[in-house]
Point group: C4
Chain length 208, copies 4
């Protein structure tokens, strides 16, 4: 095992994360998508429709941050994840973001359902674990941005970009209602750590 | 690890699935049964009474789709799974089906109990994960067929065949009340993926 | 991996079961005890106070069925499990029993709490999984024997023996209130399978 | 696998425990901290901010029991865990303590929330598992010390030391509200066993 995920080649690291997240129930079937930025203008993202417990290094496409267009593919028939536009929006919004991880979770679905229909965010529980998002407050009042799910993913991406341009979120994460969380970070390891942390917070929130 | 389950010899793939499902609590003791179709007229199915975490390639019998009769056995004393008639019915109903997987789950039991006694189906939760069953609707209204459990398995098989001849289900899956889900697919990998997906949906449904 | 637990030397099989049960949360700390009968008059049982995820073949004592006296030890300072008297009682009661497995589980604690104080049994849920205990009834009404927990283990053992002499239980299992289940079987594999099955049933019972 | 954790070099044992606790969800992200005493005056503790599933032997600092000052570091930029003062307090309080383990758990958060705001302790459930803390009572009435969480960790450490100087706790464990449990023991193995045991007890307490 590498000491940190950064020590692995980027796509190898994503293969390892995908197998791990699949085993934890966050990438059932072919659900979820993972990306890593390789330079200011490009990121690798998982191909659409692949079982996430069984990826290899060629199950990725290189995509442009600017417009989500495919710059390189390893297998001729592969298409980028249906949610590529969300990853591209995040990389445009946050130049320091190097990785973005999206999964589905039962607990996340229930945590989000506690928010009213149309709510733009919901409060994360004020537990110690919040420090993992660099929240250092005595009685933390931190909201997780919430977006309604829709078949039109490009519309979600636009809404994310519009809302975060106005006001960046307090945590490097967002939730899609009836769907699942997306977490980004300044490194693969940070994104991975914070995905775990958000899962902990959502488990608490689902039961409060 | 093979890239996809199709790349393994069919019975080797079923041994791997059985070990995986056992570890996840879907095949406790000797519960559950798995099959893979080898040609239009035959499928391999697990032998009755074997602990599913410890199968080998010879713990299967070759069975005729037409009538469920045993065409070949690897061990003289083995009998086919008690639920072979259900698998045969599914292969007769759905010529494109190549694999059928049946397990038991606590969450499935509870999800089904939310349906009234005698109900023929129950609504799956309208979450993103439904796309794994090729459901692309904005506010999906999808029902999982539900069948009452009985000691007379052949009767269940007949009811499945009769009901699905009239109207095929919206998803390639069904639920036996107080028992567990059965999922089929056009490939081993698809059946495996969708079993996971249905488990996610049942976990949500059990708690709604 | 051996095909069946019987194919391993008996203490090696118990080491494997202990590691498995520990990983599943049924043998936290040094909790639980496992035994296998080697002939009509003797059984091997786990030594007291050992962490169950880290046993080796010498962490067992050979004990007499007749009176629970130690016939052989592998390490001079070892003592037999504090619950040896219960295992001995079960082997006296059931000559066909070859293995007995005892663990603790959170779900078991809650399932048993649904029974009234002083109740001698509680109803197992009428689910398909009961067939793993050779229960073949249309609407099964099967009770799990329940015993009050006490510091005086010999007293529990006597009560088990007295009650089962009068009327053997419908399943090869019993529950100690606020403690955990004990399951026995005609083989190591059968006891292992049925421990899993009982866990499934207790998970359903805990939530009904 | 070593037979017991004591048979490993101390930091190797902590690396193994960290990987294990991370896999169980008790050390999400970089949460939690682990220490082992090497002599009366010093202990090794995990460095701050490391992902606990990926530690190596150099991710530790040697710290003085007397005042928590760093005596040795393996990597120049490392800092000791933010909760080092709590570990130091425990080693000053309990000369027999050789290891202290601190994690976070969803169930622990909920168990503690059942206690009133400001409560100094809460009752552990009277289940057999308590024997793992050397509690041998017929109807055990055992309280787990509870401390309010605050950004000022040194203040928590002082409160622990002051309260336990007056009256040592009935169990070698404490709980930080909205945070997680800390468990210590006379050996690494004992601390590890009891962390598991406390988790079992907190799972029961969270649901009572």
């Amino acid at each position: 095992m590498a000491r940190l995920l950064e020590e692995l080649p980027p796509r190898v690291a994503l293969v390892e994360i995908a197998r791990d997240f699949h085993a934890r129930g966050w990438m059932s079937g072919t659900a979820g998508n993972l990306s890593v930025r390789v330079d200011d203008e490009h990121f690798w993202i998982t191909a659409s429709g692949k079982p996430k417990g069984r990826l290899d290094e060629d199950d990725f496409l290189l995509v442009r941050v600017k417009d989500g267009a495919v710059a390189e593919k390893r297998r001729a028939t592969d298409k980028p994840s249906a949610e590529t536009s969300i990853h591209a929006a995040l990389y445009r919004l946050f130049p320091e973001a190097r990785a973005a991880l999206h999964g589905h979770s039962v607990e996340g679905v229930f945590a989000a359902r506690r928010a009213k229909k149309g709510a733009k965010a919901f409060r994360l529980p004020p537990v110690e674990m919040l420090k993992g998002f660099d929240v250092w407050q005595q009685n933390p009042k931190v909201d997780l941005p919430l977006f309604e799910n829709t078949l039109d993913v490009a519309k979600i991406a636009k809404e994310i970009e519009a809302r975060f341009r106005k006001a960046p979120p307090a945590v490097t994460a967002l939730m899609l209602r009836d769907h699942g969380p997306t977490v980004w970070g300044a490194s693969l390891q940070e994104a991975y750590n914070r995905f775990e942390i958000l899962d902990f917070l959502l488990r608490v929130a689902a039961r409060v």
